[in-house]
Symmetry: C2
Subunit: 298 residues, 2 copies
């Protein structure tokens, strides 16, 4: 396996899958679809759908039922970016080097487009039902939907984001920071890996393992983000750096310093790789991907 | 049937059903759950779940599978109220005589609570899967979910709301106004009636009939809202009156005058009742309910 080629090809597949499910820009609600599609096509690593498909393949999944879920996962993620960037929340004008949705479409349109995109994620995921022939497949799709919704909501990403915003500018302790990272960042990565496993028909212990891997990779990913906010440049990141310090934001870096943060991210990644190697199937691609995330510059 | 007693009892059942599914206020995300529950318990007619259950009963449905859908529908509706009231959209400080969510919890919390509530609607609806014993029931739940998501999203409520907000303060023509009413208001009422029918195992023609009824009742309801904005008082409505004129908002009343608007609402209600009487089962309660909505003062 040539990792770089494999990654490119898998990102390309995720990109094509996402594009295949985007809403049509037509009729009275054309402008809303444009805002949704602007946000969905403003770049991004497509990590979550790549994770999902990689686990699905590794565990022997072969159906197209994974595709609406891949797109839905990226839609849930992107919805949260639109709303996080709003003036009332992070007030960010740039993301991935492009103007944010509310800057281009206006604040009210960005609020509604974010809502529409979250909802559209479910509309998209529900297309999986049409691909389910047997009752067992329907049950798997239902289980995948539950994971998606649970990890997105109050007990997942949005809960973490809520606590993050609520404590904006305040010093917070390690316990709360862990809660925020586990939910704001890890929850959707966990869900991606778990959904890949569930749809491949994996048993409960494999799904639980996928959850544990996602938790570690998610937190490591977030710590790496904290580190890059200190060590990278605006040109490389596509957004201003140093924003955590400027906003008096507590991160792993402000709490424990860069060196300890790097150590922690490395330790979590190592654990994730060990858990991954306990799963059946060829785990080489995911292993390389996890390791490469520790080396990323943006 | 004593209509008033029957209505009270059905609203009470809807209320209890909604309360049974609300998120627990605990852990780090307690504040978000509080904001969600504040909004969900700030009053409201519970019309959509009452519609849904009435159709379900009328068509012979007997399972608890309807209950998570009743709660989910009210959650979708309430999510849209939280976001509509935001400073960037309608900037309303009061709804149903109570302070709006962003006034009580802050703007960023209200944005995220609205997101969480929309997502929680799906988390709740997915609980229906656990009540499905047979494959046929799973297929019905899947069909109901598709209706819910479709009527909520870009091609439904949110689409209508987007066009409404986009054209705020501009004069719009009858075609666009019809589109807005059909989607912003009718879409969820259509979905409520359709989901009641689908979960009761109704065939396609009955579901289509339910959709047609919902479309008419929804538009009649919105026209009645326009009329009350001119003829009612703040005390009765629980929110300021005259806001449409103040905001230069095009409505049926500003476009065609009160008399013609009343005529149109009456005509649509009459058509809905005629369509209702073509359905099997005892339609007396729904008929009375439709007629009573024309007499409402708030």
């Amino acid at each position: 396996m040539n990792f770089k080629e494999e990654l490119e090809s898998r990102v390309q597949y995720a990109q094509e899958t996402i594009e295949a499910f985007l809403p049509k820009e037509e009729g009275f609600s054309r402008r809303m679809a444009e805002a949704v599609n602007y946000s969905m096509l403003a770049g991004g690593k497509r990590l979550r759908p790549v994770f999902m498909k990689a686990v699905y393949d590794m565990l022997g999944g072969t159906s197209d039922v994974i595709r609406p879920f891949m797109a839905a996962m990226e839609m849930v993620h992107t919805h949260s970016l639109i709303h996080d960037d709003l003036p009332a929340i992070d007030n960010d004008e740039y993301r991935r080097g492009k103007k944010t949705t509310h800057v281009v479409f206006g604040e009210s349109a960005a609020i509604l487009a974010g809502d529409a995109l979250l909802n559209y994620a479910y509309e998209t995921a529900f297309l999986a039902f049409d691909l389910c022939q047997k009752e067992e497949e329907l049950r798997q799709a239902a289980a995948a939907l539950k994971i998606l919704a649970n990890r997105t909501g109050i007990c997942g990403m949005l809960g973490g984001q809520g606590v993050d915003v609520e404590n904006d500018g305040r010093e917070i302790d390690k316990e709360m920071l862990d809660y925020i990272y586990e939910n704001k960042t890890s929850a959707l990565i966990e869900a991606s890996l778990m959904i890949g496993a569930v749809l491949a028909g994996a048993d409960r212990s494999v799904v639980e393992n996928a959850c544990q891997i996602g938790s570690r990779i998610g937190i490591a990913f977030q710590i790496q983000d904290d580190i890059l906010d200190v060590t990278s440049s605006r040109e490389t990141l596509g957004k201003p750096v140093g924003s955590d310090a400027k906003n008096h934001k507590t991160t792993y870096v402000t709490l424990e310093g860069i060196e300890k943060a790097q150590e922690e991210a490395g330790k979590l990644t190592k654990e994730a790789v060990e858990l991954l190697e306990q799963l059946p199937g060829d785990s080489r691609f995911l292993k390389e991907l996890f390791l490469s995330l520790m080396e990323r510059r943006k």
